[in-house]
Symmetry: D3
Subunit: 223 residues, 6 copies
């Protein structure tokens, strides 16, 4: 009976390991803490960040990702594609405070629209094309810092500030961007404001954006 | 048999979710990490802070608390009452580094006695009445910073320092105080020193406080 | 000659003390570090946060602010007024990681429009009136968490997320909000996007917000 | 004239370097940031922590302290002596988050009286003698954790909690204690409460400690 | 049936408690978070740091360690022995950011070889003997800071820098060292470089260390 | 006379601004804190990190760097070249916790030799060529995690661990690496150990590396 109990326990622990979302941290407290993948969502215990894999079972593949040489598909409304490599793609990034993305931009107007990363500063390096980029400071100044970037140029978007990149060249453009968090988060302004699920009371948005309420309601159907 | 095992596992995981105390963190690593309530104490696995609820199951009520318009009962030895709103009352505060309290003070001498918050600075705003407040700096200076506050006045008590508020007005007084932690902790000096469980050796307290040992032993029966 | 030099030095150091903006920090490294006020801007050396006042010169008034009993003037386009009490109002808050605000809302529609605090979570308590409040999570879900609050109700807006409060009552409304930073920052979305200084290229905003370019250009004149 | 100006400038900068108190930080941002000694206090600009010495001028002596083999003088009211080695003794500890002390205890009752370190956990190792030690947890439990330590024993006092050590042996005792901050701070409870400068209103202390007001006033003359 | 289910659950939770490795954190979020010991490795869920014991079950022994009065055995290739007292020896150190070690050195050449602590600064106090100690700064300067220490001398080794101690006296030597992490980690340079498991490609080491490839391969058999 | 004094003061403050090295921080406390460049070293006051430029004077160029499209010169002993873009190249990175580098590797054996970053995790993406890369864990396991990377592959080197990259392809190779600090630091193991300035006592290195003392002394002339 004791043996039977033991096997139930072990099984439930393995289930725990493979079912939970996993745990990271702002400061690493061991060599690494490779995130456990959340493969099921029937049961749900989480921690701030992610749970970690048994270090004895960790392999080099937990620190590896392949495919950033492939262009992202930019056939969409904004003409850009972000390919992320954060803790969801490389579980070994858990607790380590960094991630990266590849961004592809369609020619003549591919746009990575105004957004913020609530938990990360971004450093972007252009490897192809010509981008008009910028960020806006907080109240009361709301200063726009903007620059046209060419291949080999680097630009910084400080944490939490609204920023964008816009392809003003005739060819597609490519950039790699580093972010100072394993889980930086993205808030695309237009989507969060006009496309929230469920919609924000349109009176709020009409007053805030000085738009006609009908237009707000129309925009809310578009995002 | 495998089916039966699976159902046991799922049950145990749900039990895990509802039984554990939950997990916060000094720096939020996702939009939020709503604390799981600890409803049983038979089993016990904890983390630094609190475990979190499945984000899919989180609702607006996890960020909500009601009742701070109600006066606390000040019919007690010190004539004051602290109504806390921290991670134990609003589970959505988990990992977010802030909480608040309402404090009610009886007329003519309601006292929030000398205490420290080991993990928080406090900012207090008086909404009714007249309070004599103060804090004392660390060694070697032990400077007292003190002020009489009226309605609309604000005062800061830096993290870890001993502080107090004392109602010197003829009416009851009310204040709201913000604390820079979701779990600030409170050490009421007199209670920790003379009312610890079990009691500190009275020779220690007699020597430290320059009190007669008999008086120390008497005080130890009072807290 | 040496005496003359000495007096010049002392004068320049005092000037330094009264001219610089001052320095805070995420973790306090002494009892307190009261910010020096920046009274001139001819010369400019800054640090992350604020420089501090000589602790020997610090008094209780450095931790004190008066006037939160007074209603803010809501006669403006959005019908609300935020009265801040952060490190710019109470220099003693420097390095201590907390601040607060009083918010007044005009009857029937006073709005604290959608905004983010890049460096703080907010906990709001309503002391008068009836507010419809909400926040939106990050991509990809953009979930809206919303609630109607009455006197004595408390709500949490997690750090970095877009949130708002809207007076849906017939009377004016008042709230106190605590923020988990001595310098939380505010980014009012509409102002940062449409009112930046200088303006963002309207092609960017037209594409991002699915608005006609003419309308974007019109909005840019309104903020 | 320009040359004259230049020499004034250089002189004032050197004065700056030798006059200011210096700057540390919770997380080191370079190999080291050796604190500048504050040798004068006529002028006063400070930062959170300490300003640093030019790294080019740093030598091994900035990381060195001599004399912990010498017993501290315990001929005082409590019969103990703390010899600190923190950022004030080793300027190289600045920003590095650690310090240590030697503590000597007189035979039969040498006491390191109840105190807190607002910014540090303490780990103590006894190198001679026999100590009764303890700490008390925060509200509401105020649990006392206590132990008798002999040579070679180690005990932990968690950050912010009230703790003490008491020599219950017939010989003098010696301990070394490590603290998790370069500037841990010390609040000796009895001194801060009854010996503050100026005194706390005795009505506050009489009510808080359940002592007669006359006794409080007497104690206030003793600390 | 429900009763039976409950007992299974409780059993699995206790198993969880005794099987997992446990969880600490860079900043303590409660009075303490005593680490759970990892006694089995069949199942494996970890967090950044360690899971914690039920606070109700914590006793003074969780903060206690005995035996640092005993000399470590230095009969080994380098002639030194480090006796650690970190979170693996005192589970109460979990989340508290500090630990210590006793180091014994054989006479005439006992060596604590060049190593780094990736997560801690070290402060060392010599209690017996005479040590030649040093650390090297990062690129491009690689400056050596070195000192001969005698009984009662203290020296600091900043976080992450390569450092060593070498007994240059005729007697054995003893030191106590404090480290600014509950889990500081140790990377002994020679072992990590030449003794990794599996071996680094010898072409890499031959080129990096300007050694003959045969010698590298020989060294790789020695560590 | 007062006017004359004022002009001296202003001059000395400007000198301060242009002479000091500047100050960053682990957590940004304002939108940005652009580092001041240290252009002179006659006078020397530093802080942890860098002093900041007056925000009013900040421009987009403070967040900009140009030239990462240019190959680094790999004609050197190890056949590799690191082109850094950290706070020394982009002053706007100050306080923001991220930086990047371009690394060029000569064909057939270009080596970025074993090194650590004491303050950063590294994420590397290969944009050309074929690299054998690896890192080694801390004691006692010293496990080697290794992988062969091709164009588009990404690999993570956790903070503080010894790691390397080696070009095993027939062409030159190029990688971009992100680091989780604005000032990550680099310790090239062979240089710090055998090339320190001044040299480490060769007896220490002979014993630590199991090398003949003559060979150690020879190596010390080579680095």
């Amino acid at each position: 009976m004791k043996g039977a109990n033991t096997s139930i326990v072990i099984f439930s622990l393995l289930a725990l390991a493979s079912t939970f979302a996993s745990a990271s941290d702002p400061s690493s407290l061991q060599d690494f803490c490779v995130a456990l993948n959340s493969t099921k969502n029937a049961a749900a215990v989480f921690v701030n960040g992610k749970f970690c894999k048994d270090p004895k079972l960790v392999t080099a593949n937990d620190f590896f990702f392949s495919g950033l040489d492939k262009a992202g598909n930019t056939s969409n409304a904004v003409g850009s594609r972000v390919t992320p490599v954060n803790v969801d793609q490389i579980s070994g990034l858990n607790t380590l405070g960094i991630s990266l993305v590849r961004i592809d931009y369609a020619p003549y107007g591919g746009l990575n629209p105004p957004h913020t990363h609530p938990r990360a500063t971004e450093v972007l390096v252009v490897t192809k094309g010509k981008l008009y980029v910028g960020f806006v400071t907080s109240n009361p100044d709301n200063r726009l810092f903007t620059k046209v970037l060419k291949t080999g140029d680097v630009f910084v978007f400080p944490v939490g500030l609204i920023h964008f990149q816009f392809n003003i060249g005739k060819t597609n453009a490519v950039a790699f961007a580093s972010l100072s968090s394993q889980n930086p988060g993205v808030i695309t302004i237009a989507n969060a404001v006009f496309g929230s699920n469920s919609p924000i009371n349109p009176d709020v948005l009409a007053k805030a954006f000085k738009l006609d309420k009908k237009l707000v309601e129309y925009l809310q159907t578009q995002f």
